[in-house]
Symmetry: C2
Amino acid sequence: MTRSLPDLDSLSLAEQVAQMVVVRASGYLFDHQIQYPDWEPPAAKLQYWLQHLGVGGVILLGGSAGELALRSQQLQNWAKIPLLIAADIEEGVGQRFSGATWFPPPMAISAIARKDPSIAQHYAEQMGAITATEALAIGINWVLAPVVDVNNNPNNPVINVRAFGETPVEVSQLATAFIRGAKAYPVLTTAKHFPGHGDTATDSHLDLPVLPHSPARLAEIELPPFQAVIAAGVDAVMSAHLLIPSWDAELPATLSKKILTQQLRQQLNFAGLIVTDALVMGAIAKRYGANIAPVLAVEAGADILLMPVDPEGAIQAVCEAVASGRILPERIRASVERIWQAKLKVRRSGGEGNLTMELAQPAAFTTVANILQETQLIQGSVPLQLTPTGSNHLCNLIVVDDLLARDFLGQYTPAIALPSKLGYTTRLSDCHTPPSDPTLDEASCTLLQLFIRGNPFRGSAGITQAAFDLFKRLSRTGNLQALVIYGSPYVLEEFLPLLPPEVPCIFSYGQMPSAQATALKLLLDI
Amino acid sequence: MTRSLPDLDSLSLAEQVAQMVVVRASGYLFDHQIQYPDWEPPAAKLQYWLQHLGVGGVILLGGSAGELALRSQQLQNWAKIPLLIAADIEEGVGQRFSGATWFPPPMAISAIARKDPSIAQHYAEQMGAITATEALAIGINWVLAPVVDVNNNPNNPVINVRAFGETPVEVSQLATAFIRGAKAYPVLTTAKHFPGHGDTATDSHLDLPVLPHSPARLAEIELPPFQAVIAAGVDAVMSAHLLIPSWDAELPATLSKKILTQQLRQQLNFAGLIVTDALVMGAIAKRYGANIAPVLAVEAGADILLMPVDPEGAIQAVCEAVASGRILPERIRASVERIWQAKLKVRRSGGEGNLTMELAQPAAFTTVANILQETQLIQGSVPLQLTPTGSNHLCNLIVVDDLLARDFLGQYTPAIALPSKLGYTTRLSDCHTPPSDPTLDEASCTLLQLFIRGNPFRGSAGITQAAFDLFKRLSRTGNLQALVIYGSPYVLEEFLPLLPPEVPCIFSYGQMPSAQATALKLLLDI
C-alpha cells in the first residue's frame, strides 16, 4: 500500500461499517476461473463492493503466487481505501498459492518440540518470517495464522495437524515463535480459533460443534495459548463457531458478547482486531439469518465480519441496528479505529518487488527440508532392495481422498515420477474410483502410498474404509512391499500395529512434493 | 521489447550462431516447479544461456497466463539481445497458459467450413487475432501456429484434430485466415510441419515417420497449404521430422538441404524464418548425435535450431563447422539477418499492459462459444428426462487418458460439477485405475463422458480398449443413460454404429470447461 488512509471522521456510518467487512474472492484473475461460484463474486460485483461500498478487505483463495501478485494489485486499485488482503496460509504461502514456499503442517514442528523445544521454536519463527515475507511479496498483508488451538482430540476433523501441538505449553511456545518471526514484517498475524477448536469432533464448516467444558478446564487447556500470543503482540484473534455452554448457553462464540467482549476483550485484555471466522460456514449460516449474524457479531464485539453471506445486506443491517439504537455509533467507531491501526501497520507493504528474489528462496527450502527430515519416521529396513527381474510386477498404488481436489499430485510429482523411473506401474485410488481389483493390484509387489489428513468439509479425520481394506488385503497376501503415509500421525498409529514386521514404513507430516521426494529418495535409494 | 537491436556486424560468429538457437524453458517462475527436468533448465543455467551465450529465443511451456507475463519479463531482462519468446499455442493462449482464451482444436473450424466456408474463415481469423493479442499481452511474440498439415489419415496420433481440415483447400483457406487475423499484431506466425505431417501413423516424438509419397502427390495434397500461407505472409515455417524418400532418401526434412533449401527456400520461394521442429524429439535425437543434428540442420537451411539437446554444444559445433569451411559464414549471416527482420517486427510488443483488459475478453468468449455451439453434434433426444426418485442411482463416469496429466478436469469443472448438482455420483477411469467394477457402475444409470483425442508421446490416436469395453458393457446392460465424447470425431465414428438408438449422444471437439458446459447444459437442461 502506498496510498494514505483518509481521515476516519470523513467516513459516513455506512463507509465505516463497510470497512468492517472482509469479502471472499478468487485469487485467479478472470471470472471464468472462479471455482466456487457460490462464494466468489465475479469481477463486476467485487469491484462494486470495493469501489462503491468500500469494503475494508478481501480474503483470497486459489491461483499461483505470480497471479496473486497481479490480483492483489488489481484489488488495491479498485478500492477507495487501502485494503487488508488476507489469506489462510497456515502452512506457508505455497500451501495456497503455487510457486511459494510450502511448509509441512504445524504439528510437524510440535513433534520436533518434544525432542528439542528450542530448535522447534527456531523453525516456527522461521516459518513465521518466511510466510510474512512471501505474503507481502504477493500483496497479502494479513496472515490468517497461527492456529493456536490445542489438538487434544485425535478425531478432530478440522484442526488436526493444523495445530502446533497437543498441549497448551507446546502450542503457546510455537505459536508465539511464529508471531515473533512474522513481527519483523509489516503484516498482520491472527490467532485462531477463539476460545479453542482443538477438542471438537464436529466440523464447523458443516454444523455447530459444542465444547462442553467448564471455565476451569478452558482456563487450563484452551486459553493459555491465546494469552501467550496476545502477550506476544498478535494483531488479530479469530472467533470459533463453537457453542460453549459454560460461558454462553445460547450464542456461539462468534456471536457472543459474553465470549468476545467479556472474555477476550476484557478478561484477556486483547486490544487488537477481533475477526469472526467465515460467516458463510454452516455453523452460523444454517442457524442465523444472513443479515442477523453480522449484527449479532458486531454486538458481540467483532471488529471484522469475515465473508458475510450478503456483504451489502450485512452493511445495511448493521447500519440499521445503529439507527435503531441497538448498536451504539461508538461501538462501530472503536472497531474502525482498530482497523485503522492495523492498516497503518501494513502501509509499508508492497507486493511490487521482484517475486523471484523473494519467494521460494534457498533458505526457505532448507528450513522445509530440515523439518521434513527431522520429523520423518522410519520403521523397518530401508532402502528397499529392488530386484531388477521383478521390475515389471512393481506397482505404485496411490491412495488419496479426492483426485480431483489434490494439488500435491501430478504426473511429475515425486510420488508418481520417482517410482515410475524404477519401472513401477502407477495405480490411483480415491473416492471416485472402483475398489482395487485383486487380480491386478494384489498380484504385484506393491508400494502403497497413502495421502491422508483431516479433511475440513468432509467431516472425517482419517482413513477411508476402502484404504484400510486395501492395506489389510495387501498385507495378508504378502504383496505389500512398503507403506508410506503422508499426513496424519493419528492414521499412522492405526496402521502400525497391523503392519507385518518385514514391511518398511515411512511417515511424513507433509503431503507436498518436497515431502514425497524426501520419503521416496530414502525408501528407493535414488 | 523496448530495447533496440545491436548492429549485426558487432556480433562475433559465436554470438551470431547463438541467435539461431531457441531453448526450452518452464513457464513457471521457480526451479522447484520445473515439470520436465530433462528438458527444462534451472534458472542459473537458463540465465547463463541467455546472458552469457546470448541465445536468440526461448520456447515456454507451463504456468498460468499471469505467471507467464512475469516470466517473459524476467527472461527479456536476462537476455543481452531482445528475445524471441515462442509457445505452442495452436488452440489459443489458454491451451497452454491458464486464464487466457482456450479455443477448440482447429478441426472444429473445418467442420464449420464444410457448411459455410466464409463463417469458418471469419472464426479462424478471429482465432488468429485473439491468439496474437493474448500472446503479446503475456510477452509471447512468436506463435507456433497455424498447423497447416492436411490430416487425411484418421489414425494420425500426433496431428489429428490439430489440423485445419482433411483437404488442402480447407486447410489453406483456414490457415491463411488465421494468419490474416494475427498479422495485425506485432507477432510472428509459423506454418508447420513442412512439408506436411498429416498422413503419418507414427509419432515423431517417438520415432521417425516415413512419408512414402511421390513429388506429384506432395504437390497435390501436402504443399498447397504451405504455398497459400507463404503467399499470405507467414513469418516462419517449421520443418517436420519426416523421411520423404522421393525428395531425399537419406535425411529427414529437418536436416535435408534438398527439402529445406531446394524445396522450401527455392521452389516455394519462402523468404522468412525456417525453424526446425524440436531437435530433442525422438525422430532426430535417437538417430543423430546431439551436436551433429544442429550442423546438419544449418547446412540444410534452417535459420532457427529449436530445442537442441545441448545448446552450448550446438553453438560450438556450428562454429567449428564454419571454422572448418563446412558451413560458409554467409550462410550464418543470412539466417541472422532473417532473425533480425523478425525481431524488428516484434519490437513493438510489450507484455506490460493490463492483463485483465487483454486476456479472456467477452468477444473472445463469444467466438469460442459460437464455434463450440455450431460444431457440437447431437444424436437422440435431449435433454434427458431425469426422474427424481432414481437420483441416488445416477452415475457420472468420466473416462480420460491420464488423470494426472489432465488440465481440463477438476472438482469445479462442468463435467464433474454439473452432474454432481443433480445428484450424480462421480466415477473416474483412466490408465491408472482398475477396470470399472460391474456391481458398482453398471447397476447405475450411467452418464458416460469420454475425453479422447490424439495423444502425442503415447502414439495412440484414439480410445483405449478399456473404454470401449466399458461402453459395450453399459450398452448391453441397458444402463447407459447418455454418451458424451469430447475430442476426436474419429472416435465418435467408431462409437456411433454401436450406440443403442434410445441413448442420446453429444459430441464436442473441445475438452475444456467451456466445451463441457455447452454439452451438459444441453443434455441436463441446466
